[in-house]
Subunit: 139 residues, 2 copies
């Protein structure tokens, strides 16, 4: 028998979610995607169809890949098998998924695969910084 | 008067540090930097001089910036004022620095500004995933 553990309720994905999420479409060209990444100061852009349903993901790493290999079409560099998160999942579970797949951000989708937001390793890392704040310490 | 708090000792940067760190030099061209990012499956490359002393940082986001603006020289896209981490800092402090400067990775340097490693938001996010493991829960 293990002693009863009192555990704080997990923080859920929806509490960290950054909105509005910036998206793109499969027929966008790479230069425009690069511009979107830079102008919005982000690294991950979900690729959606005209209904907002997830089709893939493109990241600044994929732009580096396009430069390295001389590719110019988004369809050639986007990732189609997307690892996703759901709004009601605990962030710990998402943190483990980020680690397992060596990725740094996941689109948050609803039950119809429509993109609702994005959650990144930076969003989760922020929690580690906040924990210490509660103790009243500062840099 | 506040009650005495028993605090677990902080995890230090050196415990998370990924080595060996991949570096580049200011005169490298952007295509070769992009190749290094892709081949090593990373997003951050410290730029060092011939002695290994930090000169700047280049990330896949900077490659996207180069594509967006048609820049081809690393010197034009690398960031020279680098936010760094030290091996003996607590990760909470680094997590707050990542948040404050809206960055995703920091070179770890010694007292001579020589690059020893790199720490990223993914490394810190991994801690959040591990915490739950200790409780014996799984996905
Ligand atoms: C494997 S990561 C390696 C670099 C680094 N760890 C990162 O997260 O950017 C790079 C590749 O992962 C893909 N990727 C990023 N987020 C993804 C996600 N949520 N699901 C599937 N693939 C993803 C990108 O499209 C890119 O091709």
């Amino acid at each position: 028998l293990r002693p009863l553990e009192i555990r704080k309720p997990s923080i859920l994905v929806r509490e960290l979610e950054s909105k509005p999420v910036i998206v793109t479409h499969p027929d966008e060209n790479i230069k425009d995607v690069a511009r979107k990444l830079v102008e919005n100061n982000i690294n991950h852009i979900p690729v959606v169809d005209e209904k907002g349903v997830l089709q893939g993901i493109v990241t600044s790493w994929d732009i580096a890949d396009a430069v390295a290999k001389g590719k110019t079409s988004l369809r050639d560099v986007m990732t189609r098998k997307v690892i996703i998160a759901r709004e009601d999942e605990p962030v710990e579970v998402v943190a483990r998924r980020i680690d397992k797949y060596d990725i740094s951000g996941l689109p948050i989708v609803d039950s119809n695969n429509k993109v609702k937001g994005i959650i990144t390793a930076e969003d989760i890392s922020r929690l580690v910084g906040k924990k210490m704040d509660r103790g009243g310490e500062s840099i």
